[in-house]
């Protein structure tokens, strides 16, 4: 009998736990991609072919860079390409650019974001800065004109819609005219418009009276980056991520609260120079940033209190840059700045450990 027993199969003996919740990096990334779908599709609808081309270009350039870098670093290419993290970065970058961005700028951004922003730091999980935002900041500094040329809304299937070849021209041949408003001037985002007009000694009320309405901001008939068109769809995608457990409430909540608090205080102080809370929340990429950018796991704090601090910092900085900075929008700068503080935030916001006065501290009640 003993001999029969010794022939029982030799089994693997991994260390406990011997159970897993079933989550995976790729399922997290897939959820983010699904969350981005409504706003991406809507943006394709609003601006037509150029948005689609833009997204294809960033994806192709980004994934190619990822593959090359992985190969150079002697890492397995396939599992990392398929984990979806590069896809998310490229989508976020593409959605943060104006639809009229020429292909080579978009491609340069993707190569920089993935190559320098992510892989040079050590690849997935090791990058201190949000790669999509570091790429966008690089592009914004290098190509301010291209990054602030906003197309007019010309929905697909409508009379104004761009034809396929016109779309190709916008993205690949630098012929932006068909995408721009009829008077050939660049359409302005509400934030940009406000910023220029405020310098002309107009009051907020007068400027917003020139045809802005919150309803437009909610449903996205105002110009802007591809991803910042409709507040409602961004919110929808964000709620989906929250429901899937991919993002918590802390970072989006505190980021929105941070901007809202600043807007409230200054709006009360001087309503003619500072627009109200609703304007700040619904315009620009604040919501997009709060739900999809600042929540990037790799570059945000992991401690609950840290996430509140970080989110609030993003929100306050966004408001400061919008209001007093040189650019009409500040989400990408705010996020990148706060990224730099994440290790410090994480270190000082560790939760109180069970049975201890504080993290790394003495046991509770040890003063007796």
């Amino acid at each position: 009998m003993a001999q029969a027993q010794s022939r029982t199969p030799s089994l693997a003996v991994p260390s406990s736990p011997h159970d897993h919740g079933g989550g995976s990096v790729s399922s997290v990334m897939t959820a983010v991609i699904i969350g981005l779908a409504p706003v991406s599709l809507y943006s394709v609808y609003l601006f037509g072919w150029p948005v689609l081309f833009l997204l294809v270009v960033t994806l192709a350039a980004g994934l190619a860079t990822e593959a090359v870098m992985l190969r150079l670093m002697d890492r397995p290419v396939r599992p990392h390409l398929l984990d979806g993290s590069a896809t998310v970065t490229c989508l976020l970058l593409g959605l943060s650019l104006p639809a009229t961005t020429p292909w080579w700028i978009a491609a340069l951004g993707a190569v920089f974001g993935i190559g320098v922003g992510k892989q040079l730091y050590g690849g997935l999980g090791a990058n201190p800065f949000n790669p999509a935002m570091i790429a966008r900041v690089m592009l914004l500094i290098s190509f301010p004109k291209e990054l602030s040329t906003w197309p007019a809304i010309k929905p697909l299937f409508s009379g104004q819609a761009l034809s396929f070849s016109e779309g190709l021209g916008v993205t690949f041949a630098g012929d932006k005219t068909p995408a721009l408003p009829p008077d050939a001037a660049s359409a302005a985002t509400p934030l940009g418009h406000l910023k220029t007009e405020l310098t002309m000694n107009l009051t907020v009320e007068e400027i917003l009276g020139q045809g802005y309405s919150h309803t437009q901001a909610l449903f996205g008939s105002l110009s802007g980056s591809a991803g910042e068109t409709s507040a409602v769809l961004v919110l929808l995608g964000g709620l989906y991520l929250w429901w899937r457990g991919v993002i918590g409430w802390r970072i989006p909540g505190s980021m929105i609260a941070g901007t809202a608090a600043m807007a409230l205080v200054f709006n009360i102080y001087d309503p003619s120079a500072f627009p109200g809370v609703a304007f700040h929340l619904l315009n620009g990429s604040l919501l997009f940033g709060a739900f999809f950018i600042a929540t990037d796991m790799v570059t945000s704090p992991t401690t609950p209190r840290g996430q509140l601090v970080y989110g609030a910092g993003c929100g306050v900085l966004t408001y400061i840059i919008r209001t007093w900075g040189g650019y009409p929008e500040g989400v990408s700068f705010a996020v990148v700045l706060m990224n730099a503080g994440v290790p410090l935030i994480d270190h000082y916001t560790r939760p109180r450990v069970f049975g201890k006065e504080q993290a790394g501290g003495p046991p509770v009640g040890s003063e007796e």
Partner: protein
């Protein structure tokens, strides 16, 4: 039903998870007694602490309940013959441990009569007094039945400066698959409560709280029914959340008391006992039976007929599996629950006191997901029931920054596995914490040894200095004397004198000289430090 009458205490501890329970596989299988096998392999170490020492030899006939291994040291437990029969050998045999190593084991051939040794039932346990009860619990070989296997009598002796006012009877059983405590509570609630009252009497606790996870409402109702007439016993339902069964987490949820880091539950006046231990206490005191069997949940997708079996210790797992219809497509065998249990190499090892579950996972349940880098999602921080920052601890342990990982409260980690369970990157996080803990402990032991060696060297250097000074003083005194007595007649060659002294010294260092008897310890130390240092001291002596 019961769930409507009993309020559910929420989990007061942070984090926690809700894994799939898989309890339905066995929760409706009544406890079935497994026939005594023909051959048993009874390990002499079935508990935390020192292994027991064999008291029998090959050829001895033993009766059920005879002591076959006596405890060695304080934290240890005796081992009893699980049935009557003949000892065939005392040899190493595969131990139920992930290492797959062998351990000293008593091999027993059952005679089929299964006759008890003389028992001494004491239903009137009050007459024994607390010390008497503790003694009997120790003699009965009781250890924690929740899976840890810590000798019970040690826990029942919290010491004079720790007044225990509350016993928590842990019926949490928050690990997936396991239903042995559930069945025990449903089928033998009176006996459990009787045992609990003995434990309460032993430590002088006024209050006994039976805490059961809310998903086991039949157990709650059975225990509530049985508790009628025991005014000091309360039955409470606790939230269904892993790791509710963890000692400190359960104490916090039930009593609101937080056990300080590095301290014992008794420091906050609480004693935590598993319901199985209470049942074993009842049998040990009231029936006088030593611990020779227990209920084990045999479950998992690879076993054909999952069941709750009452099994004698020493029964090979293969025999237990055969009694459950055998297994197919076995991918992983876990002793204990899937979260804190250990994986075994094969089905050879025997069942022991701490075996509360045997889980036969199918091949498809063994993970083959690739391990990815940490993406800092923070899910582990949310899930940790101790509020640690597991992702940082992982990086520090991986980079061997052992000092910093201790600053991140590594030793507060209870290795419950919540962090690894939620990790999307499939990182074996707990494995890294175990690694860091064992490295740090090994370093500390090394440091202790080095400290002892350093102290010895210092003591010896001081002694040598002192001796040299004394010798010098003696020499000077002698020289003065000789000079005064006879300046011209000095015939001794000074070099010869020095050589003789050095030889003398060397002999003394080896401990052969009669002089070494008065400081024998020092001589031993000189030996322990090896020839290198001895040579140096010789030279210094000659100078």
């Amino acid at each position: 039903m019961a769930e409507q009458h009993t309020p559910i205490l929420p989990a007061f501890f942070p984090g926690g998870i809700e894994p799939e329970e898989h309890k339905e596989l066995t929760s409706e299988s009544p406890i079935r007694r497994l026939p005594v096998p023909d051959v048993l392999h009874v390990p002499l170490k079935q508990h935390i602490g020192n292994p027991a020492q064999a008291l029998v030899k090959a050829g001895d006939h033993v009766r059920k309940g005879d002591v076959i291994g006596k405890p060695e040291g304080f934290v240890s437990a005796p081992v009893h013959a699980p049935t009557s029969g003949t000892v065939t050998a005392i040899e190493d045999y595969p131990a139920p441990h992930p290492s797959g190593l062998n351990g000293p084991t008593v091999h027993l051939e059952a005679d089929g009569r299964d006759e008890w040794t003389e028992l001494d039932p004491r239903p009137d346990f009050h007459k024994l007094g607390p010390a008497g009860i503790r003694g009997r619990i120790r003699q009965a070989g009781l250890v924690g039945m929740g899976g840890a296997g810590f000798p019970t009598f040690v826990k029942l002796n919290p010491g004079p400066d720790r007044a225990v006012d509350t016993i928590i009877l842990n019926g949490g059983e928050s690990e997936p698959y396991l239903t042995c405590d559930d069945r025990l509570m449903r089928e033998r609630p009176k006996e459990i409560l009787h045992g609990a009252s003995i434990i309460g009497y032993t430590v002088g606790a006024k209050r006994i709280v039976v805490a059961i996870e809310a998903n086991k409402w039949q157990a709650i109702s059975a225990m509530l029914g049985a508790s009628v007439g025991w005014p000091q016993i309360e039955v409470v339902a606790v939230e269904n959340r892993y790791p509710m069964g963890a000692e400190k987490q359960l104490i916090l949820s039930v009593t609101g008391r937080e056990v300080p880091s590095g301290r014992l539950p008794a420091d906050v006046g609480v004693l935590n006992q598993n319901v199985g231990t209470a049942y074993a206490t009842y049998r040990a005191i009231v029936l006088g039976e030593p611990l020779i069997e227990r209920v084990v949940t045999v479950s998992g997708e690879a076993i054909r007929e999952p069941a709750n079996l009452e099994v004698r210790f020493g029964t090979p797992i293969e025999t237990i599996a055969a009694a459950c219809g055998g297994y197919a497509d076995l991918g992983r065998l876990i002793m204990g629950g899937p979260f804190v249990g250990s994986a075994l190499h094969n089905t050879d090892p025997p069942m022991v006191k701490e075996t509360n579950g045997l889980i036969f996972h199918a091949r498809s349940q063994v993970p083959n997901e690739p391990v990815m880098p940490c993406i800092r999602c923070g899910a582990c921080v949310e899930a940790c029931p101790v509020s640690l920052v597991p992702n940082e601890m992982y990086h520090l342990a991986r980079n061997k920054e052992f000092e910093r990982v201790q600053d991140y409260d590594l030793f507060d980690c209870i290795e419950c596995g919540c962090c690894a369970w939620v990790c999307p990157s499939n990182l074996p996080l707990v494995h890294y914490y175990r690694y860091a803990k064992s490295e740090i402990q090994a370093k500390e032991r090394q440091k202790e040894v080095a400290d002892i060696a350093r102290r010895r060297t210092e003591a010896r250097d001081a002694r040598l200095r002192r001796e040299k000074e004394e010798k010098e003083a003696k020499r000077r005194a002698k020289k003065k004397q000789t000079d005064a007595a006879k300046a011209e007649s000095d015939t001794t060659d000074p070099r010869e004198e020095a050589a003789r002294k050095a030889a003398d010294k060397r002999r003394r260092m080896r401990g052969k000289s009669p002089q070494s008897s008065d400081d024998g310890n020092d001589a031993e130390e000189g030996d322990a430090e090896g020839p290198g240092t001895a040579a140096t001291s010789d030279e210094s002596n000659q100078r």
